[in-house]
């Protein structure tokens, strides 16, 4: 006789196992993801890879024809690693966002699947995978099926030039930030395609809005990126980070008043490019039903959401790399890194720990920004299409130009006046600390006035 399916509350043992496994997953998944990246990616850097070809394969890397093939295979593994990173981090962010939103909205959020509902993202992903992949009869079937892959490609390609740590990057392109700008545009191609091919009026609205929005906001974000590029004198993401320091007053955001402005312009533009509130016009639920993804279901629908949450990491990581010092550990300079690595073909063991530390610094800064983006989403209303265009062309674009021109003059001044950047950095840092102090004071005051919060968090 088959066992009856029971809806009863799980037994204490089952609950303990669930709790232990999900807590283990909370710890293990990020460590494993970042650990694999730290272990693998430094090995495919040009220097280390050439040493590997020379010493392990006994060939001359510059003349041996197989170098390209071996390098290609290594990159394939890196690609799989990065895609896994994007998928899993996207999933975890979906859980994280829902928990944060729950607390903001004075409720608990998902808490059924695993401890703290941690496995909710797995459950949701599995559910979506098993759903019917519906293609509307009137839709342009080929384009409709293809559109999500453009979006995913745009997101994943970005990770190639995006740093994770001092040597933890797939390829330190000399046009890195320019490359990131370029491949991000693939996302809008996918959104436009899905809007058009769905043959639904709401989807078309969403697609058109998205095209207008993303293309417009690429202008101010491109201009804002020019500021750190001018300050560092390079387009390479690693180069820009190397030009900054570990302490907050050594970051680009503080070293130049115009960079402070440019940081906010970039941050706002990236919110718009990633379709996050207050710029979630393309998928505005209360206006366009679900915007460009109205007609999608199942796996393809899941892809759009995967990209939305993986984008959280990407936009935050770009802002951190360009303005907030990236992976720089306070007090560790470029010479220190060379010294730590040692002269051998393979770096010293202690060097790996420093790499892990740099990844930790980078991830912490990025997570702070991710939290701010989530926080904004659950706080702000949505702006209107014309207001969105106004903000872009009347304020952000002129602001971006002004920041760029000011940076040009500033760099000339820096070359002539000693310690100008240090003074600016310290002043802006002190101002920032003061603003933070005011913020926390105001928050404490607000919390003392709040009457309504009565969430029972015992059942977290």
């Amino acid at each position: 006789m088959p066992a009856k399916f029971s809806f009863a509350f799980p037994k204490p043992l089952t609950r303990r196992v669930l709790l232990a496994s999900s807590l283990a997953a909370v710890v293990v998944i990020p460590v494993a993801l970042f650990g694999l990246l730290v272990l693998y990616l430094p090995l495919i850097q040009a220097e280390a890879f050439h040493a590997f070809v020379r010493e392990a394969l006994h060939r001359d890397p510059s003349t041996w024809a197989g170098t390209q093939w071996v390098y290609g295979a290594a990159l394939l593994v890196a690609g799989i690693l990065l895609f896994t990173f994007a998928s899993v981090s996207g999933g975890i962010f979906s859980w994280y966002e829902r928990r944060v939103a729950g607390r903001i909205q004075s409720r608990i959020g998902p808490n059924r699947v695993g401890a703290g509902g941690f496995f909710q993202w797995v459950a949701d992903a599995v559910k979506l995978l098993f759903k019917e992949d519906l293609v509307p009869a009137e839709a342009d079937s080929l384009l409709f099926r293809a559109a999500p892959y453009f979006v995913v490609a745009g997101m994943t390609l970005t990770l190639v030039a995006l740093p994770f740590g001092q040597s933890v990057i797939v390829a330190d392109l000399n046009v890195g930030i320019f490359y990131i700008l370029a491949v991000t545009s693939l996302i809008v191609v996918g959104i436009l395609l899905s809007g058009w091919s769905s043959n639904s009026k709401w989807a078309l609205f969403g697609g058109m809005r998205s095209a207008a929005q993303v293309i417009s906001y690429e202008v101010p974000s491109g201009l804002a990126i020019m500021t750190p590029v001018l300050m560092a004198g390079t387009l390479s993401t690693q180069g820009i980070i190397r030009a900054q320091g570990g302490w907050p007053w050594e970051w680009f955001v503080a070293r130049n008043p115009a960079a402070f402005l440019a940081f906010f312009i970039l941050f706002i533009s990236q919110l718009a490019e990633a379709n996050r509130t207050p710029f979630d016009l393309p998928e505005a639920e209360s206006e366009l039903v679900a915007g460009y993804m109205s007609e999608y279901s199942g796996f393809r629908f899941a892809l759009y959401f995967l990209v939305e949450w993986a984008n959280l990491w990407i936009i935050s990581a770009v802002a951190v790399s360009l303005f907030l010092g990236g992976w720089q550990i306070p007090g560790v300079t470029g010479q220190d890194w060379t010294a730590l690595r040692g002269a051998g073909a393979l770096p010293r063991v202690s060097w790996w720990f420093w790499q892990l530390l740099s990844v930790g610094v980078f991830a912490t800064k990025t997570m702070v920004l991710v939290t701010i983006v989530i926080w904004l989403r659950w706080t702000l209303p949505r702006i209107r299409v014309d207001q969105m265009m106004n903000l872009c062309w009347k304020y952000l674009v002129p602001g971006g130009f002004a920041a760029m021109l000011f940076t040009l003059l500033w760099e000339i001044a820096v070359a002539r006046v000693k310690h100008l950047e240090t003074v600016s950095g310290l002043v802006l840092f002190v101002l920032f600390v003061y603003a933070l102090y005011r913020f926390f004071k105001q928050t404490r005051e607000n919390i003392s006035l709040v009457v309504g919060d009565h969430v029972d968090l015992t059942n977290w």
Binding site: A101, D386, G452
Partner: protein
């Protein structure tokens, strides 16, 4: 019906015709708008009603006078107390019954609590429609507290069926008064929190200020009622100007649109009038509970209600504005005609006129600010 509407649309131009609803997330129920748009800008939005028609007025002619009371709940499921009260007052006029003072006060308390609950849903969904999801959860949380109180009073949380011809169904249970006062203490500070949460948010002001302006004259011409009328700057409230029930005993202000976000009669005025009205409702409930008289809560009403042939009309100030019942009796146990005049139906009428030149996002602000509830439009 839809064919009638479609015939009015010129199909030979470049504009796109979009069906806004009846399954659209921001139509709050089953409303349909046929929207002619040129890109994001609408030429007009034609409301197409009838998706929730349940012959509520016709039922009034089929069931007896007391039996119709539960059906009135369904006319406005967010503010069922007022629909109850309006019908009860009409029939009381018809059979010439005087309602005892305690029942009058309990009616006022239950109605004002219901007004708060209804306005909370209205302003919460308005914030959600503008894109801020969080305030709705806060509003619904407070509404749950009111629902608990009303449940303690009459056993129902949505369709109350609390008012009866000649009084109310139940007396307030022991300790209920303290529970309401405790809730109101918290609620008054919640209103301040609400202002910080969303009302004076810059984006919110920009989205609602100067949008979908209804002038004073237009509001009167279209017969708008309640907060929609007051939002346009017309100082008119049935509770104060044509008092009924216990309302002459209470002191309260009638908030009127002042153009807080720029223009008098814009979507923000209609929204903020509702927020201020909640504070006034809280004031009324406090006064009523303070002076709550002892005594009967139900008048002596004959078991069989068989009024003489006549016609009466009653008016109450519902959460959606003036609600009027017109009841005609032909001397039998059943009404010859029951007619309910509701605010949402009138508010739907103005949408076509106002919507020309607005953007699609503004149409949502307009519908939300008019606080249209679907069953009120189709009876």
């Amino acid at each position: 019906m839809s064919k009638l509407v479609l015939r009015r649309i010129d199909r030979n131009n470049e504009e796109m015709l979009v069906n806004f609803g009846p399954q659209h997330p921001s139509t709050h129920g089953v409303l349909n708008f046929l929207v002619e748009t040129d890109g994001e800008v609408m030429r007009r939005a034609i409301p197409d009603i009838g998706y929730l028609h349940r012959s509520l007025e016709k039922i009034g002619e089929i069931v007896g006078y007391p039996g119709y009371m539960p059906y009135t709940d369904r006319i406005d499921y967010l503010a069922a107390m007022f629909a109850n009260e309006g019908y009860a007052i009409a029939v009381e006029k018809l059979i010439k019954v005087l309602v005892p003072p305690r029942a009058q006060y309990l009616r006022a308390v239950s109605c004002e609590l219901n007004r708060i609950a209804s306005h909370l849903v209205s302003i919460g969904t308005m914030a959600t429609d503008i894109g801020a999801v969080t305030p709705l959860v806060y509003a619904l949380r407070e509404r749950e507290a009111i629902n608990d109180l009303v449940e303690a009073l009459c056993g129902a949380r949505l369709t109350y069926n609390y008012h009866r011809i000649g009084g109310v169904a139940f007396d307030a249970p022991a300790g209920w008064r303290d529970g309401v006062l405790k809730f109101l203490d918290r609620f008054d500070s919640l209103l301040q929190e609400w202002d910080r949460l969303i009302t004076w948010n810059e984006i919110y002001l920009k989205r609602l200020g100067g949008v979908a302006v209804i002038s004073r004259e237009q509001a009167i011409d279209y017969g708008l009622v309640g907060p929609n009328l007051r939002g346009s700057g017309v100082d008119w409230d049935v509770r104060r100007d044509v008092p009924y029930g216990a309302y002459p005993d209470f002191k309260f202000d009638v908030p009127v649109g002042r153009g807080w976000a720029g223009t008098v009669g814009d979507a923000f005025d209609r929204y903020y009038v509702r927020v201020l009205e909640m504070a006034q409702s809280s004031r009324i409930v406090r006064q009523a509970l303070e002076k709550l008289p002892e005594g009967e809560y139900m008048a002596k009403v004959p078991r069989k209600i068989k009024p003489e042939a006549s016609e009466v009309m009653s008016r109450v100030e519902s959460a959606r504005g003036e609600m009027a019942y017109y009841v005609v009796s032909d001397g039998t146990e059943r009404a010859y005609r029951v007619r309910a005049r509701t605010g949402s139906f009138l508010a739907m009428g103005i949408i076509e006129d106002i919507s020309g030149g607005l953007m699609i996002a503004d149409l949502i602000a307009l519908i939300a600010s008019l606080d249209v509830v679907a069953p009120e439009t189709d009876r």
